[in-house]
Symmetry: C2
Subunit: 398 residues, 2 copies
């Protein structure tokens, strides 16, 4: 995926802020492999490959992007390289890229003002090497072998807070993705459902996510009847029937930025297969909880308070034990990232935070429901990106 919506000045700003934070984290470098962090810092949406690609951000001087020669053409097109913000260093098939990274670290570390070699264990003294959170074990173990005295930590300790505040281009990408997901979920739910397997509907979800504007589909939970009581149900061979709920939790990516929407429909069929009073009650509680959580969003509110606000509605109705997960997760270049809307997260929301609000009520063996929107924390309250109706929509499914 290209990242054409994000201008070079953003990457310059991000690289500068990340580097400036290293001393405060007692870190001497960031070592960023392929993934969301690399894309956020450089615009390089690289493929995950067994050959090492690594952005080395030292605590001073210029950063370097180490790539296998085979990836040279792709790497030099990324915004940060193209704009001359970072150096590009290629390695040949006969070279050891880990030794190359170690040399880059040595060079930036051999400047007199930060050299601690005489004391031994320079890296330990100097502070940690912070690797991207999803760097593969195969890479991390090799790095640990070539820089044996270093203390290794996670780059997210520096980057998460920065990435959790979306700039205006990122919010617009999230909004575009959300609207595409709104259209996809509505089209799937208003089509034929009864007599089709979950897996078949899931295939339609994937196609519609792309047809409505996503670069790719990312996930496609289709849970019918009792399967709706399983939060992460894998669509299977169960055939959708009338008189039962159908939960869709779907998302895709546009330029790397994700959509993530959940709606629970009631499939009524042609006869009278409408929802039971019991289910209507459950759904009503859930919808009020989701709205209450959303309305609690504003700058300065601890993330956990958003969880509490909605959860209390569910608890007060006696469904507390049936809401078995946190309220939400941040979203951006990763489907799950900071801030997490969960008990224990006391961090205050700030303008630009983007996250899901997705309470659920699950009655094991019978049915469940979940409603999920992506919400951005605006200056005075929530900016809800999704626009699909949140009421219990009864569909015929025929």
């Amino acid at each position: 995926m290209s990242t054409r919506s994000i201008p070079a000045a953003r990457y310059e700003d991000r690289l500068g802020r990340a580097q400036a934070l290293l001393p405060a984290h007692d870190a001497s470098a960031l070592l960023i492999g392929v993934g969301a962090e690399l894309q956020w810092l450089t615009g390089y949406a690289a493929h995950a490959l067994p050959r090492l690609t690594m952005l080395v951000i030292p605590s001073r001087d210029r950063s370097s992007l180490v790539v296998p020669r085979l990836e040279l053409a792709a790497a030099r097109e990324c915004t940060a390289v193209h704009a001359g913000l970072i150096d590009l260093i290629t390695w040949e098939e006969t070279e050891d890229p880990f030794e190359l990274v170690a040399r880059l670290l040595d060079e930036s570390n051999s400047r007199p003002e930060i050299q601690l070699g005489a004391l031994g264990g320079a890296w330990g003294r100097l502070g940690g090497l912070l690797v991207s959170d999803r760097l593969w074990a195969t890479f991390l173990l090799r790095l640990q072998a070539v820089v044996p005295d270093a203390a290794f930590g996670l780059a997210s300790t520096v980057l998460s807070d920065l990435r959790a505040i979306k700039d205006s281009e990122e919010v617009e990408l999230l909004r575009t993705a959300a609207h595409a997901a709104d259209r996809a979920i509505t089209r799937v739910a208003t089509g034929r459902l009864i007599g089709r397997t979950e897996a078949d509907i899931a295939a339609e979800v994937r196609e519609r996510l792309v047809a409505e504007g996503h670069d790719e589909a990312a996930f496609w939970i289709v849970a019918s009847g009792p399967n709706s009581a399983s939060p992460h149900h894998e669509p299977g061979e169960r055939v959708v029937q009338s008189g039962q709920p159908l939960l869709l939790d779907i998302g895709g990516r546009i330029e790397g930025y994700g959509s993530d929407i959940t709606r629970t429909f009631w499939v009524a069929g042609d006869g009278y297969g409408g929802p039971t009073d019991e289910y209507r009650h459950l759904y009503d509680v859930l919808q009020r909880a989701q709205a209450t959580g959303t309305q609690s969003v504003k700058p300065g509110v601890p993330a956990e308070d958003v969880d509490t606000a909605g959860r209390r509605v569910i608890e007060d109705a006696g469904f507390g034990p049936n809401f078995i997960h946190r309220t939400g997760h941040g979203i951006g270049l990763e489907g799950h990232e900071d801030p997490y809307i969960v008990a224990g997260n006391e961090r205050a929301l700030v303008v630009g935070n983007a996250f899901s609000i997705e309470p659920g009520i699950y009655i094991d063996g019978r049915y469940g429901a979940r409603i999920e929107d992506i919400v951005v924390c605006g200056p005075s309250g929530p900016d809800t990106l999704n626009e699909a109706p949140r009421e219990l929509v009864v569909v015929r499914g025929t």
Copy 2:
């Protein structure tokens, strides 16, 4: 994705063989996170999540699958759990799953006959903990913290050789995927191409891969004109024109098993935009190299000899410096796995190895070509899974 084609007996066999190999590798346990290795061992095609899912295979006794409670319903449906081959252990949101894994290791390690505690550094003495190769750094660093005396290594040292030999069900999944990719690439190439951007054609590739039977599309290289000289080109806004080559390198997955095919077409248009003699010559050399590599496949032949066989054809024609990558890679639940068809890999091919043969010739700034098939090493020679024509196909593209 479900893995319904692989029977429980296969998983029992795989788990048993992996465990039996641990002592010879001086390893006390395998710690397998979400990914291809987990699916190969259990049939569990889990989603990659920030919450830890880990299969713990000790050197003796039963293995345990540690999953977050939220994933219970999905995990218990996987074949190995369903068939009672492994224990399922869930952890609650308030628990530390890494401590849980450490306790499991302690239990299997506290049996008198293998206890070394009195000597200290028991884990170091006992041998390594072998983690799945793509385990995220965030998980590995936590494991290293809770079992500080252990020597960590890669599970691939045990599993790669096992996984590289495909059983009959795996070969049939690869064949089904290959044929779906054959149809997809042919349909895309014989449709309208001229005037469309690479990105637009890539979107069609993704749709066709799924329409032809893949569960999902995995990659979609579309490289036109001079971009065909970049092996891993990212499809962009370049508009396809007549009188130029178009390289498609595409693949998807069926029940986790991948397809991977490359064909290079010549887009002629309505006038005379046929290939130049120079390009015909280049392509002819390449096709002979690809055929020669394929024909060299049989049990007992070192993997590097397959690379050499095709490469020599290219070198003899003077294109040696323009073939800038290895000949191929294994394929199965991962798009790139053992065996690698590359200089230096002296391992002999065995029946059931499945890998790509994909030489390429790249003239920087002008054009390139690559031909790729997936080939299985049969008892007496190559079993080529792909069936799309390998000749230089000239398409109108209008």
